[in-house]
């Protein structure tokens, strides 16, 4: 007899959540996860490229290490190097160069060099302690009469 009274009290405490709120909750959850996905921070790698100057300092340029990148090969100071060995080669060449200006590595790329390859090589230059400077080919206009 006493047990049945207790059961009755418990049943009276059960309250069903209003079903109309379920859609609101679902909507807000969708928006929350959409925003979370869209504000995911970008990841990347910073690169310090010195400002280019019109006046070329030829005497200094001759002392700098030059790296040429093309789709098929990487050339460091005139020697063809495997793309994975650029870091080691540059570490050797940069050893003993303490001055920031002496650690400049002039990068010249073939026009068809893909970005993926360029990033891979310049990353190795920076890891070796070099400062990347671009050497751009100037476009020459030829007027034909």
């Amino acid at each position: 007899m006493r047990q049945s009274k207790l059961n009755l009290r418990r049943r009276s405490l059960l309250v069903e959540a209003p079903s109309s709120a379920a859609t609101d909750i679902a909507f807000i959850l969708i928006i929350f996860f959409l925003v979370c996905a869209s504000v995911q921070p970008d990841t990347g790698r910073s690169q310090i490229i010195p400002r280019s100057e019109e006046e070329e300092q030829k005497s200094k340029q001759s002392q700098n290490i030059e790296v040429s990148i093309s789709p098929g090969a990487v050339v460091v100071n005139g020697t063809v190097v495997d793309a994975s060995e650029v870091r080691a080669k540059l570490k050797t060449l940069l050893a003993g160069r303490q001055n920031e200006a002496d650690r400049v590595v002039v990068v010249q790329s073939a026009r068809s060099t893909p970005y993926l390859r360029w990033i891979a090589v310049t990353e190795q230059i920076e890891e070796a302690g070099g400062t990347v400077t671009l050497k751009l080919e100037k476009q020459k206009e030829v007027v034909i009469d």
Partner: protein, 129 residues
């Protein structure tokens, strides 16, 4: 009989407004552009960029989501970067991984000329097991 706004809804309204303004605050929205990032092992999160330069899969240039000619890039960036001090001149550089040097090198040069602090946007490379 007076009808009152249920106070329970205030929390929902505030939350939706918050999300609305968070989305609006993303002024440099370039999510509509199609480009595939290159990957690298050493990447870090980019904080507080002032501008984003995109070279999409079709080789077109975009500054903060709007298409631009390469010749205009340095000037427009100089205006955007203004007199901000070093450390607050970050320019995100998003380049499709198959873009070639004749496209991305002039853009790097333009960012450099404008005094921007270049950050290549890359995806983290999965290390081989």
């Amino acid at each position: 009989m007076e009808a009152s706004i249920p106070s329970v809804a205030m929390g929902d309204i505030a939350f939706l407004l918050l999300i609305f303004f968070v989305i609006l605050a993303r002024a440099q929205d370039d999510s509509h552009l199609r480009w595939e990032p290159a990957s690298s092992e050493n990447v870090v999160n980019v904080a507080n960029p002032l501008a984003s330069v995109v070279i999409d899969a079709d080789g077109k240039y975009f500054l903060n989501g709007a298409q631009i000619e390469i010749g205009e890039l340095a000037g427009r960036l100089t205006t955007i970067l203004g007199n901000n001090p070093a450390g607050r001149r970050t320019v995100m550089f998003k380049v499709d991984k198959d873009s070639t040097a004749d496209l991305f090198e002039p853009a790097i040069e333009a960012i450099s000329q404008a005094g921007g602090e270049l950050v290549h946007i890359l995806e983290p490379e999965k290390k081989k097991k």
